[in-house]
């Protein structure tokens, strides 16, 4: 069973070549390549891909807005952001919107495929900058009870190690747990971050 990948990227050369390369690899198939947020929102819900590669900087509606829209329609799809410069602020916003990973565009094809396979098999990459931001976010006092999503002690321990630059494997070794468990923790953290920021957005909307 191939991993079904969709690409949302405005640059034609990147989009088409990436699609060709993904198709040429065994175990991967590119089911859609969309040049814009509008196109992605129209086509991807029916296709229901396993993994979406999403450019952060899209003309018109940004990739982050696109994630916000797609996420409720595609709850099982993993979204990986593509960026040129690793701007932790934007990457963090993408995570809050529901993305579960990011890649620098000029990563090699092997790295891209590895990331897709990793995310598909339950992996969850998280850079230390993002981990730090998540810790800070969850330590902020909560204004509304409805947004009261908290991290468990274990999840917090994982985050603290990630913030120190530990890779997932090193976290597993340090905490004496399996890599799969670490990934589950990180997935949960992403999910809580997403739920919390969505609740916050709703609270903000109601307050207005």
């Amino acid at each position: 069973m191939n991993i079904r990948v969709a690409i949302v990227e405005d640059d034609k050369s990147v989009r088409e070549n990436l699609c060709v390369l993904i198709n040429s690899k065994e175990g991967f198939s590119c089911v859609a390549s969309c040049p814009s947020t509008e196109d992605a929102c129209a086509r991807l819900p029916q296709l229901s891909p396993d993994v979406v590669l999403m450019d952060i900087h899209l003309p018109g509606k940004s990739g982050i807005a696109c994630v916000t829209k797609l996420r409720p329609m595609l709850p099982k799809t993993q979204i990986i952001m593509l960026t040129i410069e690793e701007d932790s602020e934007q990457v963090f916003d993408s995570m809050k919107a529901g993305a579960t990973g990011y890649l620098v565009k000029h990563s090699s094809l092997e790295e891209i495929l590895e990331a897709i396979a990793d995310v598909h098999s339950g992996g969850a990459p998280m850079s230390s900058q993002i981990a730090r931001k998540v810790v800070t976010t969850f330590r902020k006092p909560i204004e509304e009870e409805s947004t009261a999503v908290k991290l468990s002690a274990r999840e917090e321990a994982v985050l603290v190690l990630l913030a120190k630059g530990y890779r997932s494997k090193e976290v597993a070794k340090d905490l004496g747990i399996g890599l799969g468990t670490v990934n589950t923790y990180i997935r949960n953290i992403y999910e809580k971050l997403h739920v919390r920021s969505r609740a916050e957005a709703v609270a903000r909307f109601i307050q207005r």
Binding site: S13, E86, V104, K164, G165
Partner: protein, 392 residues
């Protein structure tokens, strides 16, 4: 027939009088003419002329001007015959050209006198019209009120000039600041545009090119040599894209902060650690304050960090790399520490270290390279933040 009268300040002796003798003159309650002993005939409150009146260098009494602008002269004459009918004539030299005459009332007012020297003259006559031939004469200097003095005019003029100058300099300063702000904004806009162009056009095109080379390499499976060449080209293109990313980072005004520097350091460290299979440990503050850093500062810092990392990679044979970011006491400290062989100064790496020291000096910071706590080497980059905060 008419005896001349001797009217001077030392009155006292006089003989028989036909015209009445001017006894005393008071100006604004000050006895200015006459003997103090006789003041009772005028007003008991009179002050002693000699005691209270200041004098000019020419010994002319100075009469202080009061705010009413009216100078009052009271006078009296000693007449033994029908004193009520005593007639007076007065004139103020410098104001009056002719004598004015008054009968009965013994008071004269002068209003709006300009400050300066005056002489008040008074003569009297009996009802039979026998006049003094020598007037009782009193010279005085009417003191200028403070707003009539020359220094006050000078002061006013100076104040006006000062205010005008101040306003002008303030306007210039404001204009200058406005220009500077506009200039900075324009510069930031220009930098943002360059960053965007580099990012959107060149960066993406390079990535596209690398992928295209990958595709061609894949199609060209038959001849292994060409395929390897193409893969190498793709790798080089990706390296170019990575350099481009650094350039964009330096140029982009949105990255002018310590937060962005932290992102940059982490990515760079990750890149180096991954390549050398080192453990990477980050020691960053949990909450990085949004302190601005100038592009020049970021540029020099990033080059120093890159140089330190390359040194670790080339010389240290380390298994662990620690990147530390400390903000305390208005100072930013970036440390690159390894657990490798330790630091040996050779002529080759010596020039690299000198370069780093010069770079840090150029942005007002300092550089040090010391043995680490658990062997290895620790490079510290210190940057004072106080001036940055002020210039913001």
């Amino acid at each position: 027939m008419i005896d001349p009268l001797y009217l001077n300040a030392t009155l006292g002796n006089f003989t028989n009088i036909v015209p009445p003798l001017i006894e005393a003159v008071k100006a604004d309650d000050l006895l200015i003419y006459g003997h103090p002993a006789e003041r009772s005939s005028l007003n008991t409150n009179s002050r002693d002329a000699r005691q209270f009146i200041h004098r000019t260098s020419e010994n002319i009494p100075i009469i202080p001007a009061d705010n009413s602008h009216v100078l009052e002269f009271q006078y009296t004459a000693n007449s033994f015959v029908n004193s009520k009918a005593t007639r007076f004539r007065y004139r103020m030299k410098g104001v009056d050209t002719e004598w004015h005459e008054k009968t009965g009332e013994r008071v004269v007012h002068y209003a709006n006198l300009r400050p300066g020297n005056y002489t008040f003259e008074l003569i009297s006559a009996t009802h039979q019209n026998v006049w003094n031939t020598m007037p009782a004469s009193f010279s005085f200097n009417l003191k200028a009120r403070f707003w009539e003095t020359a220094w006050f005019y000078v002061f006013c003029a100076a104040s006006v000039i000062a205010v005008v100058l101040l306003m002008h300099s303030f306007r210039l300063k404001l204009q200058h600041r406005l220009m500077k702000v506009t200039e900075q904004q324009n510069l930031a806009k220009e930098r943002a545009r360059i960053a965007r162009d580099l990012h959107d056009d060149l960066g993406t095109s390079l990535t596209g090119l690398a992928l295209e080379l990958d595709v061609i390499a894949r199609k060209d499976q038959g001849t292994g040599a060409t395929s390897a060449d193409l893969k190498e080209s793709a790798r080089k293109t990706r390296a170019l894209a990575a350099r481009m990313r650094d350039l964009v980072w330096t140029a982009n005004p949105a990255c002018d902060s310590i937060i962005s520097l932290a992102d940059f350091i982490e990515q760079l460290g990750d890149q180096f650690a991954r390549g050398a299979e080192m453990r990477l440990r980050l020691d960053f503050p949990g909450n990085i304050p949004p302190i601005q850093l100038s592009p020049e500062t970021r540029h020099q810092l990033s080059l120093c960090i890159r140089e330190s990392l390359s040194n670790v990679l080339r010389h240290a044979k380390a298994t662990e790399l620690v990147l530390r970011l400390v903000i305390c006491n208005d100072e930013l400290i970036v440390q690159v520490a390894d657990n490798g062989l330790g630091f040996k100064s050779t002529s080759k790496n010596g020039s690299g270290l000198k370069n780093m020291a010069e770079r840090m000096n150029s942005i007002g910071g300092s550089f040090s390279c010391e043995p680490g706590t658990n062997n290895g080497t620790t490079v510290s980059l210190h940057l004072p933040l106080k001036e940055k905060a002020k210039s913001r």
